[in-house]
């Protein structure tokens, strides 16, 4: 940027600090550093004065004291006598859980909508455009509240399953959809169940091995083995056989209405579902746009060349377009995952016990330690974001077009 002519050697003068390009950047940096230090000193000084005036101090020992409150969804053991730090861990795990689930479903929604939006079918593509526009242009907070309200207002309460003539009944007698959440049967592992599980894992490996073998055979000899039904057979038959041979060792714990609530089975809580669904359908709209842009970025010549080779449209998509589009799709996709994680902090609007609701909510309320809690909260999100960015950088480097 700067032209480096060889200036005549001369003694250092003060004006060179401004005029000489060799020293000017040093001068600017020194000034910037000074301003930065003064600003920090000013803010810290204000903080200390204000805290001293209020008689407060910054301390983190409240994290070790019993939290005293209960949390409705805990992935690790927790009760009201556990510490605030433990409550924060519960919150962290809940955040990660909902973010993980939402990332998966958002990708599914997004890919389907993105591909369908490019469909030749006018109605379908318009419908998908409508979906994308309506979800992209309305704040996610409103969507979360709307979907939570739908959950609580439309689904029946457990009360309606009760009595001789209940107004609602369980789906297939296995699943209960209530406005408190969805109850699904939980497996009960009897003796010998591990054998069934092992068989299942083995058959999954078998399917993969078979498909790889078939592909290799196709590439080396050109013989095309059937893919579909043998895969299905390998996947299901051995496990089902083993299941009946061992006398059905795996039972089902079916949820049933006892007392106020359904008991037994696995409960997926209403707030989790609302948040999960809202985040995935909202972010799905954004992902759909990324997918569409990615597919459109693959030049038309590629599609035409593939068709000229005689590939069917499905194969054109799978073998030619998508692999190339992925390179364009993945980076914005990962930043959408990041957005999901950050937007999951809106759990506070539906009462889902994520980190913002435990550490940044009840703990902050009860201890009044606002500064400490907010700092810890930001630290957590920062860690997550930076790790995801790091993964993204690694990926970007690995898919970079290798020019030969």
């Amino acid at each position: 940027m700067t032209t480096l002519t060889d200036p005549p050697r001369e003694s250092f003068r003060l004006s060179m600090l401004i005029n000489d390009t060799r020293y000017r950047s040093l001068t600017f940096q020194a000034i910037a550093l000074l301003v930065l230090i003064i600003a920090f000193a000013y803010l810290t000084n204000n903080l200390l004065t204000n805290l001293a005036a209020a008689g407060l101090n910054i301390a983190y020992d409240f994290l070790g004291t019993p939290a005293g409150y209960d949390i409705n969804q805990t992935l690790v053991e927790y009760d009201s006598q556990s510490s605030h730090a433990r409550a924060a861990v519960v919150g962290i795990l809940n955040t990660l859980l909902v973010a993980f689930l939402a990332c998966i479903t958002a990708t599914v929604f997004g890919v389907i909508a993105g591909v369908l939006r490019l469909s030749n079918n006018w109605l379908v593509s318009k419908l998908m455009a409508f979906y994308v526009e309506i979800f992209r242009n309305i704040p996610v907070l409103i969507w979360i509240i709307i979907i939570f309200t739908i959950m609580t207002a439309v689904l029946p309460g457990p009360r309606e399953f009760r009595g001789d003539n209940p107004t609602s009944s369980m789906f297939l007698d296995l699943f209960a959809f209530t406005n408190r959440g969805i109850y699904i049967p939980a497996p009960v592992w009897g003796p010998g169940s591990m054998v069934v599980v092992a068989t299942f894992i083995a058959s999954v490996i078998g399917v993969i091995a078979y498909r790889r073998y078939a592909t290799n055979l196709l590439y080396s000899t050109g013989r095309l083995l059937p893919m579909g039904w043998p895969s299905l057979a390998i996947f299901f038959v051995p496990t089902i056989l083993m299941f009946y041979i061992l006398g059905r060792p795996i039972g089902l714990d079916i949820p049933e209405l006892r007392g106020f609530n359904f008991q037994g089975g696995i409960k997926v809580g209403g707030p989790l579902i609302a948040l999960w669904f809202a985040l995935s359908i909202y972010t799905g709209a954004f992902i759909a746009e990324n997918v569409r842009a990615g597919i459109q970025a693959v030049s038309k010549g590629q599609t035409e060349a593939a068709s000229a080779l005689g590939l069917r449209p499905g194969r054109v998509m799978n073998l030619v377009v998508l692999p190339q589009a992925l390179r364009v799709i993945i980076p914005p996709l990962i930043s959408q995952y990041l957005n999901i994680t950050k937007n999951s902090s809106l759990a506070i609007a539906v009462g889902y016990a994520d980190i913002t609701a435990t550490l940044g909510g009840i703990t902050l309320n009860q201890t009044g330690r606002a500064i400490e809690c907010v700092l810890l909260l930001m630290l957590f999100y920062l860690t997550i974001s930076l790790s995801i960015s790091a993964i993204m950088n690694v990926y970007n480097n690995s898919v970079k077009l290798k020019e030969r």
Partner: protein, 432 residues
């Protein structure tokens, strides 16, 4: 031989027959439907599925909307009118629209002021958005912030005038010195503006706002959709210059400045807006001097501005990176120094590329202003979740209110994104 010909051809038509209409199935709506809806069996199935989905959506909502009750004083009255039929209770909107738009404390006889400011906003942004309009209109754009401030907050007219004078003074000093050195002009301009503000601040009489022409309205009384609009417009416009500075800083060759900018950008982008709003509501007041208190609106503006500045900086960095290296080298070879090269060559091009990205950030930010409802500010969502749903009359009217909020946001955001697409097409000067 010649007569064989005459005999084999018994009839030669010497006039053109009128062209027959194409077969019924290859024309008009039928053809369109065959091509666009039922091209293949799979396609037909998709069409039927889509039709079913549309039916599922419309079947309950249409009667609900068409049957809506538009005038009633409470939900109970609404239900009485409906007599058990499906129907919305839009009466809550006709009854409470001022609260939804302006918050519950903005004096009702002053509603014309924010409304006027809103209308003027369009006049002010028009020359920025559409390049074909006469450049003279930009003067009004420059004046708009002061006019809008005066209209919305009221109080003494000296404050906006003083601010304006300070800006003009600063700009004059900048113009005077910028030919010598950019840094001198820039810092001189800032210093001049600050000096004018400081001296002027002492001159304004203390009780000036008590008998002002426009009644002063404290910023705590702002609310409703107006608050979302104000936060969105203020923060985006403030964050663009900061974003440019951050983007340039991140590209800078000076390691210290680069590190500061990178840390700032990555930190802000790494945390959710809601935690920054927590900072504004529970932490930031500890960082101001002990004897002052800065009100919540200003604190929120500071945090949201920082937030959007970080995102805009990344967009502009993309624009800077997209410029061919030749542009930088050409500027250098002309002998331009860094500020000149940036101002005259690089930034005009980089900003042009970045405009669609900036507009996207602006839309996202505007949607995110709803989060202020979490820290007890009564924006549109805050009004709905707080005072209106908690009131005895309207307790339980969720769909109408949420639908109204969604509609308002959709209209604004969809409008902006359509503009951005139009702009993208306009700016596409390359040959594709």
């Amino acid at each position: 031989m010649s007569d064989t010909h005459a005999q084999t051809v018994a009839f030669v038509r010497d006039t053109e027959i009128p062209s027959a209409p194409p077969p019924y199935a290859a024309t008009g709506p039928v053809k369109w439907m065959r091509e666009n809806l039922f091209a293949t069996p799979a396609n037909a199935v998709l069409t039927l599925l889509a039709l079913y989905a549309i039916y599922l959506i419309l079947a309950p909502t249409l009667p609900w909307i068409l049957n809506g009750v538009w005038s009633a004083n409470s939900l109970a009255e609404c239900r009485e009118i409906l007599q058990g039929a499906t129907g919305a209770c839009f009466a809550v909107l006709t009854e409470r629209w001022p609260q939804l738009l302006f918050g519950f404390k903005y004096p009702s006889d002053l509603y014309w002021r924010p409304t006027l400011a809103f209308v003027l906003l369009f006049v002010a942004v028009a020359p920025v958005l559409f390049f074909d309009l006469p450049r003279k209109l930009l003067i009004f754009t420059g004046l708009f912030p002061f006019i809008a401030y005066y209209l919305i907050w009221g109080g003494t007219i000296f404050v906006p005038i003083l601010a304006l004078v300070g800006c003009i003074g600063g700009f004059a000093v900048y113009q005077r010195f910028v030919t010598g050195s950019f840094a001198a002009g820039f810092f001189g301009g800032i210093a001049a503006a600050l000096a004018i503000w400081y001296i002027g601040g002492l001159l304004i009489p203390a009780g000036a706002s008590n008998n002002a022409m426009l009644t002063p309205v404290p910023s705590r009384d702002l609310g409703g959709f107006m608050l979302n609009m104000m936060l969105g417009v203020t923060c985006v416009s403030l964050s663009i210059p900061i974003g440019i500075a951050l983007a340039l800083g991140r590209q800078s060759s000076m390691p210290l400045i680069k590190v500061v900018c990178v840390v700032f950008i990555e930190f802000i982008r790494g945390v959710p807006l809601i935690t920054l709003l927590f900072v504004a509501s529970v932490m930031l007041s500890y960082f101001f001097p002990p004897e002052s208190s800065v009100d919540l609106f200003l604190r929120v503006v500071i945090m949201i501005t920082m937030f959007s500045a970080a995102y805009i900086a990344e967009v502009i960095r993309g624009g800077l990176a997209a410029l061919p290296k030749g542009q930088y080298e050409a500027a250098d070879s002309l002998g331009l120094d860094y500020p000149q090269a940036m101002r005259l060559i690089i930034l005009p091009q980089a900003l042009k590329i970045s405009i669609p990205g900036i507009v996207n950030v602006a839309v996202g930010l505007f949607k995110d202003t709803t989060l202020v409802s979490v820290i007890s500010m009564f924006d549109l969502v805050g009004m709905i979740r707080g005072p209106i749903l908690a009131s005895t009359e309207w307790n339980g009217v969720y769909w109408e209110l949420l639908g109204f909020a969604a509609l308002l946001f959709f209209v604004v955001c969809y409008g902006i994104s359509q503009y951005s697409q139009w702009l993208e097409r306009r700016l596409a000067t390359d040959h594709r």
